[in-house]
Amino acid sequence: MLAFYRRLYPFKSLFTWLNHEHAPTKLFTHREFAFTLQGDVYLRYNSFATPDDLKKQVCAYNPTRFEIGPVYSARPRDKKTVRDAAFSPQLRELVFDIDMSDYDPVRTCCAAADICRRCWQFIAAAVRVLDRALRDQFGYTHLLWVYSGRRGIHLWVSDREALELTDEQRRALVGWLTVIQGGKEMHKKVNVRVGGKSLPPSLAQAYKMLEPVFHELILEDQDVFASEERWQALLHLVPDAVREKLKNAWERDPHRASADKWQNVLDEVDAWKPPARHAASQTQTPAAIKEDIVLQYTYPRLDAEVSKHRNHLLKAPFCVHPKTGRVCVPVDPRTIDRFDPGRVPTVHQLLRELDAAAPPAPSGGGETGEGVGGDKVTAAGEHHADWERTSLKPYVELLDRHARGLMEETRRAKQKMDLSW
């Protein structure tokens, strides 16, 4: 791991992404970093003046991973010496965490911590829906998606307005985006039609994106309704009369394919007449029943707690997952369908690549700007560009492109301020 931190980890890129400009600001210096060391030692409230300092400390601790927290009103490392009232979280990227294990009731290829290209499509669908919602509805533009190294994906939103959200506003935003609710004991987990018969516009948009996913992924690829346990779960989502009828039919013909079972559901639900004065008849229309089922099987399943609080810590991009050895790399949402978690480089593979590659080119030229802290002579900066000679390169470049967008935004904001004076 130490070699990975010393030679490959892109500290400079991480810095510009968090800091939004070249000279360190509070966005970096007042930022909490937390380290997890070997033997589960957990060190909180670290902070650093420069990316070089961060690198030195990381190399000294050689942590199994490190996490990024909020920007506090004082430097986190001074926490013990400032009054409690003077130490509170001020700014924080809006973050999301989607974990594949939340999809266990609706996937058949893998379970628990496992993930493959096939069930990655659930994540891909979630990314498309959330990415679109956050851009269209909330107007955010600086979204960084990061593979978590094992079975999930993180999202970091770095727009200035997102950084400034209070916990109350974060909770509200999560509430707006949350559709799947209720634990194991709750059959119907989609209840979004308060007040109107049709889906709210934001969810109608999501439904349009998810309906094809339901067909391709749930019915065809995963064949979710093959096992009795799974088709029984489906029948809990249709009216009693329909359930009885289909239960009998499917028990007699257990090998009916998922797509055929779904066609049965559609036919029966369409033919079904809600009983007059039925309490739920306001929201229980055939269309609503179908839409809610599609959403329940495909809508993004968020770990809401992660997003609600400014002081929640989240693993830094480019850390290594301790179980898989895979690097938590940024992912381009536009090509998310083609992303294969199994082909993400592992730390061992990267170090082998580095050994096999030619020795570093003589210093100077285009690389200078990439040196940590801009100073190529420091020990920390020595191996700064080694990642360029490994398969980590495209991922670091993705983060750099993203960070350049943020720097451009900061530059424009400053210019505007200058003009307004």
Partner: protein, 480 residues
Amino acid sequence: MISRRELQATSKDAKPGVVQTHSKYPFRLNFYDRPPVEEITIEQFETAALDRLRVLAEIESCFARNRTFEEMGKVIVGIWDKYLPLHSSTAHLERLEEERRKDHIGHFVLRLAFCRSEDLRRRFVKAETTLFKLRYQSDDHNEREKFLKSRDFDWVVASPEEIQDLITPTSYDPASKSSTYYKVKWTRVPDLVEKRKVVLKGGMAYVPAAEQASIVYQEFQRHLEKDLEATAKALPRLDEDTRLIPILDNLSKGFQAGISSEWAGKTEGQEGLTADMIDEMAYKHYPACMRNLHMALRRDKHLKHFGRLQYGLFLKVLGLSIDEALAFWRKAFSTMQDDKFNKEYRYNIRHSYGLEGKRANYAAMSCQQILMSHEPGSGDSHGCPYRHFSADNLQSALLTMYSDHGLTSQDMPEIMHMVKQKHYHVACTRVFEITHAHQGVKKGEGVGGGESVTHPNQYAARSRELEKKENGDGDVVMQG
């Protein structure tokens, strides 16, 4: 047995305070942009604040008891009519200006008292915003419109084209298609966003006219949060006025205890209550604090100073005459010689009835006073069991006192949870409800009309009232 120092009524120091001028209140609703700057006496300062505190404390206790907003409205309207009436401009009352001035002053005094810690600020903002909501909803329609026009809420009415683009494609809610939408940054209406009651586009929330009030509430809350933080920063300067400090301290303590009491001054107990009726009275009608004192008195044949103080005044308000009180205490201290009793106790009992010394009519202690003054020591029996007992002792004491009245160990987790949250009066209220369930008291009804217990005598009086009603009803059934 009662020292003068303990009971002296709050001194009405009428020297003018520091705060000064301004006096136009065109609206019933107020965003409290500017502090009152006219001359205010210390007495006005204190009364305005205490009366407002009663209302806010009741709002807090409504939250603690999980009341719906509608239920809360009913409870609070009754209380603000009493302490903080605020009529609409159409009422043309002479006292209109005075009412609004009191509202204005009370709000700002409490800001001073509650800006000091983050917890107090948070609770104050929640209670004040709720009070504002309740008033907003009860406001005269025209007057409210005028109020809304008087401020810049920074909302834009969305154009018909915008609405058509956003709403029509899915015919989301046909009824609202034709109505007005206000456009604001979504972060200003988080409550509506959370419940998906708006349409979002590019970070702007389109708020249907029916939800317009939410923008106003959020604005009120945001405004108050900001001002409180500023006040907290400025407060050290105010601390130099030493007259205000003890008042502000008491106010914030009162809020923590959950006050609101009209029982302090009352002496309307039962006619013909005699010393030998007290045991039965204690068994049937006492709240835990008094039951505990009574049990200690019977067990030890004695009570220490503050115990006698707390219990003696309670008995007075309960309706025990001076002669019966003397008889009660004489019998209770059964191991004591007449001589000692006459010398050391008789005078104090008569004093507490206003028959000696400065002949003041001393009030019985409210829950707030019991909770906040004279922390009981190890040999003491006074205080509030919900607050001053350990969790184990409280549970077994409550079961000893009330299992005959329907309290069971199954009720304990709920009660102990309230205690843990420091909602002592709420726990006591819940015990009242449980032990009077057989007389038809339902959860949430409290000591009548949803009110929480705020005074031991209020508890006992309500309990006796329920018994009387039950017996009365019983008679009717017998005749029928």
